[in-house]
Subunit: 257 residues, 2 copies
DNA sequence: CGATTCGTTGAATTGAGTCAACGAGAGTGG
DNA sequence: CCACTCTCGTTGACTCAATTCAACGAATCG
């Protein structure tokens, strides 16, 4: 039981420590996240080639940066465990959270166009990160077309995600925004074969509010309201979805055609 | 003189008709927009190769689609003249405008990851569009690394732009959003060597509101307020920036550190 | 274990939305 | 050329969802 717990947690929260054991030396071919992080398109030979260029750096602690805004762009990063928050500073010095990233997901592609990062990425808790130098990726990409396509694909996905967030921010109420975030996390947990209904939110209420364009107070109130209506069970950062359908219906209100 | 006029207009509004004349057959190397649309990185041989794959389709009329959401993804498109609005339908059937595109700019890369377009793109007025099959681009990209990098760069730029919009939507007031849009258009006009202070907004108030997450009424009120405060002169879609500094200062309020 | 940050709740305020009316232009047809 | 329609933009009055301000309890961390 205890060990199942550990396994459960292993790419959820306190993982990174375990990484010294197995994950830390794992090759991409063995990594159980590769279905997410790598393309199905990338085949055997590509994979071996990729392995030779991936740096498996030592784990970051909570608050450490993967990279910072304006850092030179050299690499992209795959999250092996832990959670990462991406953000940038607005002209007037406030923080704008632009995304949360989960194990198996890729960050850093924002830097390609200007050769420096346009956002900062910091670990929300202990995190293990694979670093992949972009030069290597580029040359691999010219050799393995499937690799190139995957990269294009990743970036294009990022664009689609951003546009969904744009819609969320410009059209939806506080309840809808928060429902969407919860559902997004639930879906991403599904991809990692974790519970879709019960999980720990790795980020603070402040970060949630910032990301969704709401104040902390509003976020808190919505959580409370959801709890009162038996849609969610909220226990600090632990949440359990009690009524998934309710959440879905909040996001897509009945079309009033 | 007449011909200069035509040339002048050629990437502004009513162009497309003239395109049969000169622009329509122009090669990328001659097109005066290539500094925007193509990378500085793309050198002579790449350029010639590119020319062989670009289709210069017949002009679109106002309201025609460049492509539609869920269309198969085959090509990306460079706008040679006219203006394009990108939008997608939300789950509950409403329209979300995701961007406005000007001559020299590239659209369609949203389709790469899913092999179908995630947004629709329609001409806001008569528009001439260069179509570039993505298969060709991919194979060119493996042959010309500078080309590949440029593509990555374009997509990465799109991500940065989207993230700026996200910030705008989640943190800024109606006045700030509209100021930002005006300034963005002004800047893009600068890149095309057009007036930065006096221009025609190619999109409707409704589209502006939709894009910025505001209602038509609010957009209209802000324009009126700006006019009253001698920041803008508004004449229907024609606007003249009277006080650029005021607009800038609206966007970046004094840091209250 | 105290300090500091984080989260929750309440009361008052407000910026933008909604509803409604109207005017200006663009296009159509007699 | 005028009358008619339809869409688009503007303005006003009212409403409301979310913010702001404030206070307090809970969690986390040296």
């Amino acid at each position: 039981m205890q060990s199942i717990m550990a396994e459960q947690l292993s790419d959820n929260t306190t993982t990174a420590l375990n990484c010294r054991g197995s994950a830390f030396q794992t090759k991409c071919g063995n990594c159980r996240l590769n279905a997410i992080c790598l393309p199905i398109a990338v085949q055997e030979p590509d994979l071996d080639a990729l392995d030779t260029v991936v740096h498996r750096n030592k784990p970051l602690r909570k608050g450490d940066h993967v990279f910072r805004e304006n850092d030179n762009f050299n690499s992209i990063y795959a999250i092996r465990s832990g959670f990462v928050k991406a953000y940038r500073l607005t002209d007037d010095g406030k923080e704008q959270v632009t995304g949360f990233y989960f194990p198996g997901e890729i960050i850093g592609m924002d830097g390609i166009s200007q050769n420096k990062h346009s956002i900062s990425a910091k670990a929300l808790e202990t995190a293990a990160i694979c670093e992949i130098p972009f030069d290597d990726i580029e040359s691999l990409s010219t050799r393995f077309p499937s690799m190139q396509r995957h990269l294009f694909s990743l970036m294009s996905q990022e664009i689609i995600q951003d546009q969904q967030l744009i819609t969320l921010l410009s059209k939806n109420t506080a309840e809808e925004r928060i429902s969407a975030l919860i559902l997004s996390i639930s879906d991403r947990n599904a991809a990692r074969k974790l519970s879709t209904t019960s999980f720990r939110l790795p980020m603070s209420r402040t970060d949630i509010g910032n990301y969704l364009g709401l104040t902390v107070e509003t976020v808190s109130r919505v959580f409370s309201r959801f709890q009162k209506n038996n849609i969610l069970e909220v226990n600090n950062k632990e949440i359990t979805i009690l009524d998934l359908e309710a959440i879905r219906s909040i996001i897509s209100p009945q079309q009033e055609a």
